[in-house]
């Protein structure tokens, strides 16, 4: 090994050391990070739609950065309180202290009770659904279906969708502990789509041809019946802010409430909050 090369390697190490010190300084400076971009965190039910909206917004405003992530309604609201996120997504109404936050309904979403397409049952009453999910009714035979045990699929604790389901359907009863638990609406849909004995609940906007949505006492979960109030399993999708939004955040909010964005949401299966859109 030539002497020159040995020298260089010594220098290399020194340079590396300087590089690392610089990085550490950067790192500690960055701990006071300025949020270069908007983080939107919260309900996984709202998440895919928020992502879509963000994508659309950023295509019109190339310099903006909007990061959407899940974590659940409660976590999202908390993130807004601690300012870890600029916008929180919630699929349930605000409770207690949370009511101090500034919230805007960006759309409405219905909860659909879903079955496997091959399941012959089309219609159940709210009472029946409650008894199924609490475990009182254990077999499809009791509902005039095939003689197989009912496989319940539910969302996990902390999910806004589950809380809405609990409020609208279960009331004081608990969802059976025997139920399978999945941590996103998409996963619930997957399980129901692959099991003819399964029943679950997801956001209406996520229902596709892999699963079938139940009628509740004859009322179908379609746009008309949701708007006229006949289908009652409806919940608001909220954007939550720490104080009234300004700047880029306000701009994004205005976009979300605009006809363009609302049409997008309608196409994806949500109920827009601008009534004119639906009639167009």
């Amino acid at each position: 090994m030539a002497d020159g090369r040995l020298q260089n390697q010594g220098f290399g190490i020194l340079n590396l050391g300087i590089l690392y010190s610089l990085l550490f300084i950067l790192f500690s400076l960055g701990c006071q990070r300025s949020k270069a971009g908007i983080t939107v965190a919260g309900s996984t039910s709202v998440e895919p739609f928020a992502e879509l909206l963000a994508e659309e917004y950023m295509s019109h405003h190339p310099k903006s950065h909007i990061y959407v992530q899940g974590g659940g309604s409660t976590a999202g609201i908390e993130a807004v309180i601690t300012r870890a996120a600029k916008i929180g997504m919630s699929s349930r109404p605000l409770l207690g202290q949370e009511k101090n936050l500034y919230s805007v309904t960006i759309a409405k979403d219905a909860i659909a009770i879903i079955l496997h397409p091959k399941n012959p049952i089309q219609d159940l009453s709210l009472d029946q659904i409650r008894e199924v999910f609490s475990g009182k009714i254990k077999s499809w035979k009791e509902l005039k279906g095939i003689s197989r045990p009912i496989v319940l699929v539910t969302r996990e604790e902390g999910s806004g969708t589950r809380e809405a389901f609990q409020k609208f359907v279960m009331g004081k009863e608990d969802i059976s502990l025997e139920s399978l638990v999945q941590d996103s609406n998409g996963a619930v849909r997957q399980v129901v789509a692959s099991n003819p004995s399964a029943i679950g609940y997801i956001s209406l906007g996520l229902v596709n041809n892999q699963v079938k949505a139940l009628k509740i006492s004859g009322v179908e979960p379609n746009l008309t019946d949701i708007e006229n109030g006949k289908y009652t399993l409806v919940r608001p999708f909220l954007f939550v802010f720490n104080g009234e939004p300004v700047g880029e955040t306000k701009s994004f909010l205005e976009f979300v409430l605009s006809p363009l964005a609302q049409k997008l949401l309608l196409k994806e299966g949500l109920v827009p909050i601008l009534p004119k859109i639906a009639k167009e």
Partner: protein, 279 residues
């Protein structure tokens, strides 16, 4: 009579072993083939260059590739000096003493901590306490802690494999320990250390639990070290569970498998060339 029974037993035992082993290996290869078969058709150039669109139903996986690279990069950046430094200390600066035993114990224990615990730790320490949020930095630092034991052990192996005469020559020429380490030991150990880095890269790419909890799952291209990102493994997990697009899921899975396989094959080849030969 006795002789024949023994050989008969042997025959049966060997038959079972052959069957069991071959079928096991076959199943494991089948698992890979299944995903590759469905996923390879999706791997065209656009798949790698486009970002996910429409909630991941269309487009490609570009932003997740960037995310994976960034996260792994940060992990290596922080994990390597710590790991190599530890190895140097254990090999060059001490004998087997109480300190070295404690350090080794700590390293071995760290190697056994499950990834979800790292995720919990990273979440509460980096994301919340240090207020770094869900970011490349949070995820990368957490990963750095996870790969530390691997880097330490491979670095140690390669340093140990350096023949003592190399060092003796340096000392006899009047070199200090520091000079010996930086100009003789380290350069010779570099291939082995690089192998350790490669193995850690392979592991980081596949890591999911710790990453979701610390780096978030945003699909957007990151703009800084403090942006949240989604790695390929996380993207694959989400696609697979939500059934958004089976085609995309298989494609991402195939890309993931290929990447991990290639990296580990290179690492193994390097191990055979540089470490085994020295011993």
């Amino acid at each position: 009579m006795v002789n024949r029974t023994r050989y008969f037993t042997q025959g049966i035992a060997k038959f079972f072993i052959w069957t069991a082993a071959l079928s096991t290996i076959a199943v494991m290869i089948l698992i890979l083939i299944q995903i590759l078969k469905e996923g390879l058709p999706a791997l065209h150039l656009r798949f790698f260059l486009d970002s996910p669109k429409n909630m991941g139903r269309e487009g490609g996986i570009f932003s997740t590739i960037i995310g994976t690279v960034a996260l792994t990069g940060v992990a290596i950046l922080f994990g390597t000096p710590l790991g190599v430094g530890t190895a140097i200390f254990l090999r060059e600066y001490t004998r087997e003493s109480k300190i070295s035993r404690i350090i080794r114990f700590g390293t071995d224990c760290l190697a056994g901590v499950p990834s979800i615990i790292f995720g919990l730790f990273g979440f509460v320490f980096f994301v919340i306490w240090l207020n770094m949020g869900w970011s490349i930095l949070s995820g990368g630092l957490t990963l750095a802690a996870m790969i530390l034991p691997t880097i330490i052990s491979t670095a140690e192996e390669s340093i140990r494999a350096i023949p003592h005469p190399y060092r003796e020559v340096s000392y006899s020429l009047g070199g200090t320990k520091w000079q010996t380490v930086t100009r003789v030991v380290l350069p010779s150990a570099l291939p082995g250390i690089f192998t350790g880095i490669l193995l850690s890269v392979g592991r980081s790419i596949g890591e999911t639990a710790a990453v979701i909890l610390t780096a978030g799952s945003s699909l957007v291209m990151p703009t800084s070290l403090f942006s949240p990102i989604r790695t390929m493994a996380v993207h694959f997990y989400i696609l697979a569970r939500e059934g958004i697009s089976m085609e995309m899921a298989y494609g991402t899975g195939a890309a993931l498998i290929l990447l991990v396989l290639i990296i580990n094959m290179i690492a193994q080849w390097l191990i055979n060339r540089y470490i085994r030969h020295r011993a």
